[in-house]
């Protein structure tokens, strides 16, 4: 087990393994997304209050989950890179940030689209949306810092510190925003009636969540492969890869 991880830390090995995994992830992910969308858009019954407009949760909720999941993964792999100086971990952290930012953006957009039929307006300072917005700012900070520092390794290490600081702050921000929200808006409409959700809705939702996760892993592997290539461009194995194609 440990030797596997140890090997995975070596860039050429990671490059090969990732290259082999990507097609598999791609097919499974496509299958799950098709099944999830079919289940969510066709099989699941309309909501008795919201009609069909609730169906956006099959995109919105998994994106929101992913936005947080990716931040945690980015911070953890950043920390691994920082402490053990593993280049692959640095590449994974660097590759995660834009993907996470896009998922956050997607969650915000779908949330606001959903808000229109629900609240009659595209934007409501609802606790979840506000937290998601702040998370987007945190992502943009990470991306901004990474692109501002020329030296890649320094950029990775600085970004790792920033994302760890962000990680520590996310629960505090979340709690503050929740508290602020209850204070200013009274009880807002909770979006998912969590206990009452029907299995026919829950199942597609979970399938979609899994599909999103696999999509992320696939994109992550693709991006980190490129990162690894760029970071190791001086080395012999990269020259071999480039020459043999």
């Amino acid at each position: 087990m440990w030797t596997f991880f140890h090997k995975l830390g070596s860039p050429p090995y990671f490059y090969r393994i990732a290259g082999r995994l990507i097609p598999w992830l791609g097919w499974v992910c496509a299958g799950l997304l098709v099944a999830g969308l079919y289940g969510g858009l066709v099989l699941a019954p309309p909501d008795y209050q919201q009609g069909d407009s609730y169906r956006i949760i099959f995109i919105h909720v998994p994106s929101a989950w992913m936005s947080l999941f990716i931040y945690v993964l980015m911070a953890v792999s950043g920390a691994v890179g920082l402490i053990w100086r593993i280049k692959v971990a640095e590449a994974i952290a660097a590759a995660s940030a834009p993907v996470g930012a896009w998922f956050t953006f997607l969650a915000l957009i779908t949330g606001s689209l959903w808000g229109k039929p629900m609240w009659g307006t595209y934007w409501v300072w609802d606790a979840r949306l506000t937290s998601e917005l702040i998370l987007l700012f945190l992502y943009l900070g990470v991306i901004g810092l990474h692109s501002a520092i020329e030296d890649r390794r320094t950029a990775s290490r600085a970004t790792a510190v920033l994302s760890l600081v962000g990680l520590v702050n996310i629960p505090i921000i979340h709690f503050s925003v929740e508290w602020w929200n209850t204070l200013h808006q009274g009880a807002t409409v909770t979006k998912i009636g969590a206990p009452s959700i029907d299995l026919s809705m829950l199942l597609p939702l979970l399938i979609m969540a899994l599909g999103f996760k696999l999509y992320y892993f696939m994109v992550l592997l693709m991006r980190s492969r490129v990162e690894v290539l760029e970071r190791e461009r001086g080395s012999v194995w990269v020259r071999e890869v480039v020459q043999t194609g």
Partner: protein
Amino acid sequence: MSKPSTSLFEATKLECWRGDRCLFSELDLALAAGEALQVVGPNGCGKTTLLRAVCGLTRAERGTFIFRGAPLDGSPETFRSELVYIGHENGLKSELTALENLRALRDIAAQRRELSLQAALKRVGLEGFEDRPVRTLSSGQRRRVALARLLIAQATLWLLDEPFTALDQAGARLVNVLVEQHLNAGGGIIFTSHIPLALTKGSPRQIMLST
């Protein structure tokens, strides 16, 4: 020439990068007590980086450091307390006087010697300038304020990056004398300079970096 005395500082298989470029790799250097080592090479070859790596400002990609026979992994504090580093920048605040600057630098740096700040400034030829804001001093005089740190710190290892910068002839002689005294007292010096250092025992050993 220099008898094989006790090893003060060693670095083995040192490797440093700047961006994509490997400045040096597999670099070994050893410094005995009472010895000076001059780092030479063309501009951009990594002389400053080497000094910064030794004092821990720049992270070496690979390599180990040994100070007084013990590897420098866990506790850089003891090593740092025996170290004076004078970089390109003097580390002086232009709004503060020479004395105020020196006092602050003394208090955050290595253990101090029984020498008053005034005496140290006098020794580097700045008598009468103690209470002048550093911004009114010439660049050579500022360099002298920085060099005064060598006198007040109880440090074994001196790392000097271009110590002769901006100094006049008298200033250069002063550096020579300070260096000589430090070596006689059993200290070690690693420095970069394009100017040869004339010691009574002969020129110091050189380590050549290439691009």
